[in-house]
């Protein structure tokens, strides 16, 4: 096996893994709700990848078949190749998997316990806020660029309208986005 080479040092990779492990436990609304914090950590605070690499990671995972959580793998790849993938995927999946398996094995049967209902009721509005924050963090770089602004606003609006008012599969919208981009609309 080749010597350890990576764009990041080993302590940095460990820090990345640990941060994503923390996010794994905070991902109550799904991994995508932690995307703004991932962006803050890997793009803004550490500068390991650029904003457009981050945005592209999410787009690639969305277009590809399979769970959208794989955007985490693409982020890891962009940071430090396969080592980065190992760091982000392990971080993102290990803690939540252990927790889920724990509850699958030994979980309380009381589904309607007051604490559980309080947890669900309390977290739902926060999840909504986090999803809105994620949407904003993803859209903002395009909206900020004058040349990309109208295309971005149009695509976001069309997507919103289509998802809320029609049964069109999101894949058509992704294809539309790609087409608009290819022809210079954004």
């Amino acid at each position: 096996m080749a010597a350890f080479t990576s764009a990041l040092s080993l302590p940095e990779l460990l820090a990345l893994t640990l941060h994503f492990m923390l996010l794994s436990l905070l991902a109550v609304g799904g991994a995508i709700t932690t995307a703004p914090d991932m962006q803050r950590y890997v793009v803004l605070d550490n500068g390991w990848i650029t904003q457009s690499q981050f945005s592209a990671s999410i787009a690639i995972a969305q277009a590809a078949p399979g769970p959208n959580v794989l955007f985490v793998a693409v982020i890891g790849w962009n940071i430090a190749g396969l080592w980065g993938v190992a760091a982000t995927m392990l971080g993102c999946l290990l803690p939540s998997t252990v927790l889920t398996l724990y509850f699958a094995r030994w979980g309380a049967r009381r589904r309607d316990s007051r604490l559980l209902r309080a947890f669900t009721s309390g977290m739902t509005p926060l999840t909504l806020g986090l999803l809105a924050a994620t949407g904003w963090v993803l859209a903002e770089p395009f909206v900020r660029e004058p040349t990309q602004r109208s295309g971005a606003v149009a695509l976001v609006s069309i997507t919103l309208w289509s998802m809320l008012r029609s049964k069109l599969s999101p894949m058509w919208l992704v294809a539309l986005g790609a087409a608009v981009g290819v022809f210079g609309g954004i």
Partner: protein, 192 residues
């Protein structure tokens, strides 16, 4: 694919390998997310779960932190074959899609500067933002029946939005503070 089905018995995967392939097929059909496909395949086609069982499994998967579809696969697999089943389901869900996504990522690294590819990814990125906002909007309809009441819910959502998207505070701090407050408030409201 063998089905372990005798008249009157519940369909279920015969072994972890069958579960692996079933989850693999689910994932490969899941462009833009696997959950919709999962319901169609598991409930309607394979009949491994009733709709009620699926919905219950899904709601538990959503309450627990982590990717919903991964938690669902873990719960499903564990129910059939314990840890082996959980691992088989999860591996089926992630292994091949991970390979595909990494190939695409490598191609992206190679050709990122090509204007058409860069443009396509920008367009898809904008659509991705819209899809997330749509998820948020759909969630908003559940707030009407939330014990916290609509104004408080919107207030909490707004605080989370400002803290994360504008102030860029760490998620652990925001969820720690707002989450504790929200759950405590909901707990007290539920007593009434």
């Amino acid at each position: 694919m063998r089905c372990n089905e005798a008249p009157g018995s519940t369909p279920r995967p015969a072994n972890p390998l069958e579960l692996f392939w079933a989850c693999n097929n689910l994932a490969l059909q899941g462009f833009g997310g696997v959950l919709a496909v999962a319901q169609r395949e598991l409930v309607e086609r394979k009949r491994w779960l009733t709709r009620e069982q699926f919905v219950e499994m899904l709601s538990i998967s959503q309450i627990l932190p982590g990717p919903n579809i991964v938690n669902l696969a873990l719960a499903l697999g564990h129910g059939y074959f314990g840890l082996r089943g959980a691992f088989a389901a999860c591996a089926g869900l992630l292994a091949l899609p991970l390979l595909i996504v990494l190939i695409l990522a490598a191609l992206y690294s190679e050709f990122a500067h090509e204007p058409m590819l860069a443009g396509a990814l920008r367009g898809m990125g904008a659509v991705a933002a819209g899809l997330v906002l749509a998820t948020a909007a759909k969630l908003a309809s559940t707030l009407k029946v939330n014990p916290l009441g609509l104004p408080l819910c919107l207030g909490l959502a707004g605080l989370a939005l400002v803290a994360i998207a504008w102030l860029r505070w760490p998620l652990v701090a925001v969820l720690g503070l707002l989450g504790s407050a929200a759950v405590a408030l909901a707990w007290s409201r539920l007593a009434r």
